[in-house]
């Protein structure tokens, strides 16, 4: 039993991990075919893992309702909203659960698509747009050039914010009177700022991002190796060893 519980999963991880790595170097058809099938199995298994995520969310809200925790009414709301969506899904415009999804129009009642377009999408987008307000507030109150490093960061950010959109050119058009618009100034606010922006992205930004990427990749390789060789087992979870 202990073998099945502890050793067998580690053997599986080792065998499949080694094959997954080795396969990259073996072009022969048997290797390609085996790889294809293993990939297919992982794809389907991942799908079932999604159900696990759903289950944990459900059990959490059920627990809240059962314990009558503060705000448990909201958990009921979660189930009500889920129930309506699920009902629309199960109805599937008359096709029910086991047939493929029926095409639906936007202007059609009782479809998952309606729930998506008019409930899910606006809520999701609005949640993210809240951040614009928080950024504005932080810009005023907390983005401070406390250290030389933070100063470099802020200066680069300001250059990019003004250079990536035609903000300066727009201000120039509005506020600079005609007689001040020398060729030099015009090209400075239009072309030069844009070139500086592109250069910042293409040279220092690229260099640092590449440095980070190389470092992170080494870390990813090390983690993968730990998994394959059974040194890292945290992903297997606990529970009755």
């Amino acid at each position: 039993m202990l073998f099945l519980r502890r050793t067998f999963p580690l053997i599986i991880a080792f065998v499949l991990g080694s094959f997954g790595a080795a396969q990259y170097y073996i072009p022969a058809p048997w290797s390609q075919a085996t790889f294809r099938d293993l990939v297919y199995i992982s794809r389907i298994v991942w799908t079932f893992a999604l159900f696990l995520g759903m289950y944990s969310l459900f059990s959490l809200h059920i627990g809240r309702m059962r314990r009558k925790q503060a705000g448990w009414g909201y958990s009921g709301l979660v189930f009500a909203a889920f129930g309506i969506t699920f009902a629309a899904m199960a109805w599937n415009s008359g096709g029910l659960l086991l047939s493929p999804l029926r095409p639906t129009e936007l202007d059609q009642w009782f479809t998952v698509r309606w729930m998506y377009t008019y409930v899910f999408a606006p809520c999701d987008a609005t949640m993210f747009s809240l951040l614009a307000f928080f950024i504005a507030s932080a810009a005023y109150r907390t983005f401070r050039a406390r250290t030389p490093e933070a100063t470099i960061l802020l200066v680069a950010a300001v250059v990019l914010m003004l250079g990536r959109v035609p903000a300066l050119a727009m201000l120039y058009d509005i506020f600079v009177p005609e007689f001040l618009r020398t060729d030099w100034l015009t090209s400075l606010v239009t072309d030069d700022v844009r070139q500086l922006t592109e250069w910042l992205m293409n040279v220092p930004n690229l260099a640092a991002k590449r440095g980070l990427l190389l470092g992170v990749s080494l870390g990813a390789i090390a983690t993968s190796l730990r998994i394959i060789f059974g040194i890292e087992r945290s992903y297997l979870g606990g529970g009755g060893d």
Partner: protein
């Protein structure tokens, strides 16, 4: 005094931003959008794909974003579809994110009638597949195993757009519209490296700076970054849309934010110097 100005209730700042955005959206003023080279590269490659004559040119658009980045990425999707359809390029759409299919459907349904394109013959929507990396690898090895059917259960080998496709590499161009790291962790790493696809990207501005190393190596052959990139693409296909309409508000809001950063920092330094003197 300065401290009090710096410590105002954040709700006032929220109100200011709200007013700036609404005002700038309502002020309709034409704005010049200069084209940056990564955007031009996507456009040029699409033009090259359209020139292919030994088989019907077909591209794959992977919709890997959700409503949270609808405002940024959806205009790219519309512009790319308009470009492809206007040049007679066939399009297959798929999703790695489960939150994307509604947006993808909406994009196809908006653009296809404009060009009188028919489902199946000119475009196909393959729907969502879970599994991330495994989906890309599955498509690379055997397309029909990854997508035996489209989103509505029609077999992909019976639809004209996908009948010719047996592997990921059979697509002439793959464009991923990404709001997360699917573009580098999935498409660049697994799709481009293993199956040598031509890969272009449209990403949210958050992701854009991280993509530049891949642009230089050619692992990505072009990139549409954020709303500004979308506006550039709209200009290239000469069909201004939502992105172009948003650029004015975008610019004004940037100016407002930059001014508050500058003001906040100046005030901060003044108050810090004063504190030191005292």
């Amino acid at each position: 005094m300065i401290d009090r100005i710096l410590n105002i209730d954040r709700r006032y700042i929220f109100a200011v931003i709200f007013v700036v955005v609404v005002w700038a959206l309502m002020a309709d003023r034409p704005i010049q959008v200069p084209i940056s080279s990564p955007v031009q590269d996507v456009f040029d490659f699409m033009e090259r794909v359209a020139q292919i004559d030994d088989h019907p040119p077909t591209i794959l658009i992977s919709f890997d974003y959700g409503p949270g980045s609808d405002a940024e990425v959806q205009p790219m999707a519309l512009a790319l579809l308009r470009h492809a359809f206007s040049k007679g390029v066939r399009v297959a759409g798929m999703c790695i994110w489960e939150t994307a299919p509604g947006l993808a459907k909406a994009a196809f349904e908006t653009v296809a009638p404009e060009f009188d394109k028919k489902y199946g013959d000119d475009y196909v929507f393959l729907g969502y597949k879970s599994g991330g990396i495994a989906v890309v690898l599955n498509m690379g090895q055997d397309f029909s195993l990854a997508f035996p059917a489209d989103a509505y259960g029609n077999r992909t080998d019976t639809l004209a757009t996908t009948a010719r496709i047996s592997r990921l590499a059979d697509f002439d161009y793959v464009i991923t519209l990404a709001a997360g790291n699917t573009i580098d962790q999935l498409w660049v790493a697994y799709g481009q490296d293993r199956y040598k696809i031509n890969l272009g990207g449209g990403v949210t501005a958050v992701m854009a700076p991280d993509m530049f190393p891949f642009l230089q190596t050619g692992q990505l052959n072009g990139l549409i970054p954020g709303l500004a990139g979308a506006a550039e693409y709209e200009k290239l296909i000469e069909h201004p849309g939502e992105a172009t309409a948003g650029m004015l508000a975008q610019s004004w809001t940037h100016i407002a934010i930059v001014l508050s950063i500058v003001f906040g920092n100046v005030a901060y330094f003044i108050s810090r110097r004063r504190d030191r003197e005292v």
